[in-house]
């Protein structure tokens, strides 16, 4: 499972990065949270992305489009999930060695009481393959269009559409609903 290839745009000046941070930091943390399941890790992922952006701003110019930053955050989330998986395979512990699904639920419960219904949905979402989960989160949390999701994930709009359809069908099956 490799990183999704995301075209690298030229990067913004620090002022633009600061503005991007100011305007979208919380949204990006929420996106990362939905992928990795716990807030500290989500914040780490987003901070790493901004740190990387800032480092590269020295050598480039132009702007840092939001899709690129979102893609970078998702890449960071994948890295986290990969490290967790490797940790489990080699017997290491990572946050008590629990699964992504459990992590997502446990952290969700830590600050708000999610209804049982929402817990079931999130658990089903966590059981989906990574790509399908990303598509659903981008569409149903961020409200991105098919083209925007395609830009973020570096795949075609057609693939987005088919992936979303399969993901929803799988989710519906898991939840015992007609698809």
């Amino acid at each position: 499972m490799g990183h999704t290839s995301v075209p690298e745009p030229a990067i913004a000046q620090p002022g633009a990065i600061a503005a991007l941070f100011r305007d979208h930091h919380a949204e990006l943390v929420r996106l990362a949270l939905l992928m990795v399941g716990d807030l500290p890790t989500a914040e780490d992922v987003v901070q790493d992305v901004f740190a990387s952006l800032h480092r590269r701003s020295r050598a480039h110019e132009v702007d840092a489009p939001l899709p690129y930053v979102r893609a970078a955050v998702l890449n960071g989330c994948r890295s986290v999930l990969r490290r967790r998986a490797i940790g489990r395979r080699v017997g290491m512990t990572h946050r008590a060695g629990i699964s992504d699904e459990t992590t997502m639920l446990a952290s969700a419960e830590s600050e708000v009481i999610l209804s049982e219904d929402r817990r079931q949905v999130l658990a089903a979402l966590a059981r989906l393959p990574r790509r399908r989960r990303e598509v659903l989160v981008l569409r149903y949390y961020l409200g991105l269009s098919g083209a925007e999701i395609a830009a973020v994930l570096g795949i075609s709009a057609g693939t987005v559409k088919s992936t979303a359809a399969r993901a929803l069908a799988a989710l519906a099956r898991d939840l015992g609903e007609p698809s």
């Binding site: 100011r22 020295r58 997502m104 708000v112 999130l122 609903e177 698809s179």
Partner: protein
């Protein structure tokens, strides 16, 4: 939209909704150096001053703003802010609206405004802000000018801003003990600090005025519970030079203040006072401690020398008290085109205990004309640097890195004075 889609959207929204903007960890782990703005400029003219450049940046905050009634002060005293708790910083609003605003260090979002009080017959201009240890209380000093009597009767009025419920409610109260005497100017370049237990407020005042500019040269300490005040002034002046106190901070036991004493030469018709080693009678800046257990007195008898400028510390750009009795210094060293800014811990003998932050970027983007360190109650340090090429760079030091504040800086002024 199918039932599955509805449930999914609802679950994602609820899960993401537990992330509160004001509780996000502040700032990305950005690199330390400010961005070089463009082609490198010739910096040779800075060289003579670079050996000991320590300029007091003074920016006049003009414009009228007026405000509100005075009330009795409530009791003071705060629990310390736990590490990682949501933090806020105070920033002057963009000109011409000079109200102070409180912003989240996570997002830069305005949390609550501190509207300049509207007092009939007076013009109030915000001067300096200090944060209390609870991180939710800020003290704001205003220059108050009697519009009928003009400048001769200007005073310093200090208000306490408290806010609750994430900033949805706030109150401004006039603290006991003011207006303060003298010219009443807390003057730009001076500073204000709340004691670690939140019961005392220390700030600089000005007894001298030259060419229309006032320079901070006295220290007040006011007990916020009783209004009793103490003052330390005179005794450190030198003929032909202007004595100033650019910054003060409390030691962790609340018994002393650490301040930087600078002897400088005001640039004619400007608000800059230049620490110029080429001038006859030059005396390098000193870091001094002031015991506040007394009822005031002179600065020479009341304070002791902690550290002087030396070859090891060629330009002490700022100094504050460290948590264990040590000093935290911001030091500039090296030639102008390869200068290094370090923030380091130094013990009572001047021995270096450790480096908190180091940046060599200023050698390429221009030496900072002003460096300000502001500790918070958890002993993190806000670092502000300013030079004419890059403007203000603000961030707090975290494990050797400067984490930029999500703040917009107006072109003029020192907009962040407390956090």
């Amino acid at each position: 939209m199918t039932r599955t889609e509805e449930r999914l959207r609802d679950a994602l929204s609820a899960s993401a909704g537990r992330v509160r903007d004001d509780r996000l960890r502040p700032l990305p782990a950005l690199e330390t150096e400010p961005q070089r703005p463009g082609p490198r400029r010739h910096m040779g003219w800075l060289v003579p001053a670079a050996a000991a450049l320590s300029v007091l940046l003074i920016v006049a905050l003009a414009v009228t703003l007026t405000g509100k009634s005075h009330k009795n002060a409530p009791s003071a005293g705060y629990p310390a802010l736990p590490a990682g708790f949501p933090k806020y910083f105070a920033q002057f609003g963009d000109p011409p609206k000079l109200d102070v605003v409180i912003r989240s260090t996570s997002t830069g979002t305005e949390v609550t405004p501190a509207m300049t009080p509207d007092v009939p017959g007076w013009r109030l201009t915000p001067q300096t802000v200090a944060a209390a240890p609870d991180g939710r209380t800020f003290y704001l000093a205003y220059q108050a000018v009697d519009l009928q009597k003009q400048q001769a009767t200007s005073q310093t009025w200090i208000y306490r801003l408290t806010f609750t419920h994430g900033g949805s409610a706030n109150s401004m109260e006039w603290i006991k003990g003011d207006p303060f005497p003298g010219r009443g100017l807390l003057v730009n370049g001076g500073s204000m600090a709340v004691s670690p237990d939140g019961t005392k407020l220390a700030f600089t005042g000005a007894t001298q005025q030259q060419d229309g500019q006032s320079w901070p040269d006295e220290i007040f300490v006011v007990d916020l519970r009783t209004g009793v005040r103490s003052a330390w002034r005179v005794g450190l002046s030198r003929p032909g030079q202007t004595f100033t106190i650019p910054g003060i901070s409390w030691t962790s036991d609340g018994r002393s203040l650490v301040f930087r004493a600078v002897w400088c030469h005001p640039n004619p018709n400007s608000d800059v006072c230049l620490d110029d080693p080429a001038r006859p009678g030059y005396r390098g800046p000193q870091v001094r401690s002031l015991d506040v257990g007394t009822r005031g007195g002179t600065l020479d008898h009341g304070s002791t020398l902690r550290l002087g400028q030396s070859a090891r510390y060629p330009v002490i750009a700022d100094a504050v008290a460290g948590p264990g009795g040590e000093l935290i210094l911001a030091v500039l060293s090296g030639p102008a085109d390869a200068a290094t800014l370090t923030v380091e811990r130094v013990d009572a003998t001047g021995r270096r205990l450790g480096v908190l932050y180091r940046s060599t970027a200023y050698g390429t983007v221009g030496l900072p004309a002003s460096v300000t360190l502001t500790p918070d109650s958890t002993r993190h340090y806000l670092l502000l640097t300013y030079n004419s090429q890059n403007g203000l760079v603000s961030g707090w030091i975290d494990h050797g890195k400067l984490r930029f504040l999500p703040a917009r800086h107006p072109n003029s002024g020192l907009p962040i004075t407390a956090w």
